[in-house]
Amino acid sequence: MYTDKVIDQFQNPRNVGELDNADGVGEVGSPACGDIMKMYLKIEDGVIVDVKFKTFGCGAAVATSSIATEMIKGKTLEEAEKLTNSMVIDELGGLPHEKVHCSVLAEQAIKAAIKDYKSKHGIQE
């Protein structure tokens, strides 16, 4: 049911962990399944220079968070904010229907981390 790419991201997740001096931290939970995702961003001049994540969730949740961190690393905040769960799913080569909601977590966690950064730095939305 999972693509090879999902399995690879699950088995060898990129950017797992925490950032001690993160500029923005986002934590979201899925109301559907009770799973949790935490995203840490290091931001310099409006660019995401480092990102880490931690996930309590299924295989799809781990794989989507992992690939999402890859997709936003080195991107500007505006670019990162445009990331959607369907872009993440496409990048993974698809997800089973009943696992689509898991990919929403990654999108939301990134948005939450950026929001946290902006509020800490007094940047208006």
Binding site: C33, G34, I36, K38, K54, G57
Partner: protein, 386 residues
Amino acid sequence: MQRRYFDYAATTPLDSEVLNEMLPHMKENFGNPSSVYSYGRDARKVIDDSREKVASIIGAQAKEIYFTSGGTESDNWAIKGTAFANKDKGNHIITTTVEHHAVLHTCKYLEKHGYEVTYLPVDEYGLIDLDDLKNSIRENTILITVMFANNEIGTIQPIAEIGKIAKENKVLFHTDAVQALGSVDIDVKDLGVDLMSISGHKIYGPKGIGALYVRKGVKIDNLIHGGAQEKKKRGGTENTPAIAGFAKACEMAQSTLTDQIKQATELRDYMIKGILDSIPEVKLNGHPEKRLPGNVNVSIRYIEGESILLSLDLIGIAASSGSACTSGSLDPSHVLLAIGLSHEIAHGSLRFSIGKYTTKEEVDFVLDKLPGIIQRLRDMSPLYNA
């Protein structure tokens, strides 16, 4: 990759002796047992003999056994059939919060059709309280349905005691023994059971076949109306190969029961000890002794069941997280919630079920690999602080 199967509670491989018993009835002896002549007569005899064998494993008489398409149909039939047939006596049913969905969803359906259902809670081990049961019985109670052994956590209920209470109160007693069959010594007469559901594919028999034991004299409406098969109680052309296979599986299970129980219990306790000893913050679910010989169910804090299953699968180990039937849904298992686990911990639980082909080598393989997998996943978890 070598596969190691630890999901015998979900389904079992067909025993090759069972298959050999089925094959002749698929090819030459294919006749319709309801037809009058030789093709049919041969099939009829197979069905009669099979009924004897299936009856024997639960201490019933052949004429009290009705073949169905499986455990789910048996559960539906037992509950709806007695509920509809006893509508004049009352509309109250007692069950538990930890039943299989075949029972729970049937009860929910009846609630929509004018029946009242009491769902007895269970303690932290998954056991119901007998006083609770007694206090729940009312004037209008027509049926008690309590499962013999739980499919997720393996807890075995005090069936004989429930049977006694049911009898004293003149209420019918159904038990879903799908998981108990072949793992527990069962005698419907001793246990005071009026109706019992069993299924073929959990005991190395074929899928798509089961039976309902209906004690002589019990009034029950049909669930599936049709031809004159099964003494007019269940229509449909008889599935002779599956019936023959089910009977063979029962016969084999019965003759090896004591050894099977011993072997599975040893492996189970070895596996439980191994997991609890090597992984911190792990909890055994279900009762330590009153449990199915093949059931290992543990909650592993801070991580989620599906990702453990996936990691195990990638090295060839098939296990389950709660019931296989629940995996279509996202909710954590209703059984784990019923024994008082939080959502988060219920999500991190794992069932290994041991069967007759399980070896110590296979268990050792799991015990060797599991701690590393758990550690890797915990390191990814926002809930875990090493």
